[in-house]
Amino acid sequence: MIRVENLTHKYGGRTALNGVSFEVRQGEIFGLLGPNGGGKSTLFRILATMMTPTGGRATVAGFDVARDPAAVRRQVGVVFQSQSLDKALTVEENLRAQGHLHGLSGADLRGRMGHAMERLGLADRRKDLVDTLSGGLRRRVEIAKALLHKPQVLLMDEASTGLDPAARRELSRHVETLRETEGVTILLTTHILEEADRCDRLVLLHRGNIVAQGTPAELRASIGGDVVVLEAAGAKPLAEAIERRFGVRTTAANGHVRIEIPNGHRFITEVVEAFPGAIDSVGLHKPTLEDVFVRETGASIG
C-alpha cells in the first residue's frame, strides 16, 4: 500500500532522510518511531505530498507522491500534529467544509459525515463548537475529517501529542477499530513507546536512518533476556569495571548503566555484591522498544 525506496531528503546541507526504504501492507497499522528530529516528520510530509523529496521515491496506493500528488491526495487522509480544525466552527461545519474540499456534497456527504461521526463517537457533539471540545475529542474530529473521502491510507503525525494517557488509549482503540471496520491502512509517527507497541510493525528512525524494523515483539526479542539498569554517580567507570569483571556489553549514559542479560535477577545479586557502595539503585525489566533504540543508537527516544 505504501512503498518507500531509498528515500532521501536534504534541507540545504542537512540530511533529514538518508536512503530510507520500507513497505507497508494493506490493512496494517505501521509506526515510525524515533526522537524529534529523527526524520519522522520529513517522511510524513513527503508521504502527505506537502514536500517533494530530493532523492529516491515513494508511492502510496501505487501513485508516486512526487509525480502524481493529486492522485495520492485522493487516496490518503491526513491527521496533522498541529490542529487543522476551525475552532470557530462546529464539528459538523468542519466536516462539511472538508467534504466540499474533496468535491463531496448533498446526501452523499451527509451520509459520510454521519458515518464518520458515528464511528468516532462524535454523534452527540455534532453541533458543538470545536473550541468547546477536549483535546481527545478534537483529535477524533480530525480523524473523522480525514476519513470523509474514504481514503485507503490514513497518515497520522504524532496524533496523540498533548493527550493524557486515558485519552491516548481511547484514541488507539478508535484507530484499531477503524482498521477492522473500514480496512484502512494506517501509518503513524510517534515518540511514545506505548503507542508504538500497539502497531503491527514499525521502523525505528534515527538521524534519517532506519536503525531497526519489525513487529514490536520481534524487536523486543532481539534483546536476549532482561535489561538491568544501574543508577550510579560514576556510571562510566562502573560500566568499564562491570565489562572487565563479567565480560558483558554495557552502555553508560546520564548516570545510568544498562546491561542486556539473560537471567537478570541472578546478575543483579552478583553485581551488587561485586561493587558495594558504587550503585545507587537497581532496576530490572523485560526489554522495551526504548531498549532496542538505545542499543542501536546509544541515544534515547524521549
Binding site: 520529513t42 502527505a48 491526495r73 496533522f80 487543522s84
Partner: protein
Amino acid sequence: MGNFFLPAATLWQRELVRFWRQKSRVLGVVASPLVFWLIMGYGSGDLARFYSGALVLTVMFSAIFSTISIIEDRREGFLLSMLVSPAPRTSLVLGKILGAATLAWIQGLIFLAFAPLAGVGITPAGLLPVAGAVFLISFTLTGLGFAIAWKMTSTSGFHAIMNLLLVPMWMVSGSLFPMATAHGWVRAIMWVNPLTYSIALMNHTLRLPGASPGAVESLAVTAVFGLGMVVLSGMFAAQKATSSAA
C-alpha cells in the same frame, strides 16, 4: 473541474460564518479609522476631506486582519488540510480572497453610515456605484494582503510590512492631502501608488472634492491592480514546496 467552485464557496462561507460569530471584530476594524477621521475632520474643520481616506483605511484594516490569519492558518490550522486536499489551489485562493473581501466590504458599508456627518447624502440610486467601488477596493486590498501573507513565515513580518509599506502607501494616496498640492518626490510616489486611484474612485462616487485622477482612470487602475494581485496570489499559492516552512 466541477471541483472548482465548491471549495471556493465553502471557504467564502467559512469567512462569513466566522465573522458572524465574532461580531466584535467590527469594532476593532471600524473604530480606529472612525476616531482618526473625527479628530482630523473636526480639528481641521473639514470632515469631508478625510472621509474617503478613513473609509479606505477601514477596508484596509479589515483586509489585513483577514489575510494575516493565513500565516498561522497554513502552519497550524484549517489551511493545512486544504493544502493536502485535491481541491485546486486557485480555487482556494479565490474563495479566501472573495470571503475576506466580502468582510472588508461589509465593514466599509458600515462606515458609510457615517457619511451624513461628512455632508454626503447617499440616495438609494447613488448607493450602487458607491457600494460597487467599496467592493472593488476591498477585493484589491485583500488581494494585496494575500500576496504578502503567502510569502511570510511569521506574523511579525507582516506587521513590519504593514507599518513600512501599507500604512505609508495609504498616507500618500490622497487620503491626507491631494496630489495637486503635493511636492517633489512625494507627488511622484502618489502618481504611481495604486491606492491614490482607490481614494479618487471613492471621491468620485461620493461626489466629494479632491477627485483626481479622473473617474475612468481611477476605476481602471484599481481594477487592473486588483486583478494583478489576485493572479499573483494564485501563482504564489500554486508553487510547490520543496522545503518545509515549519
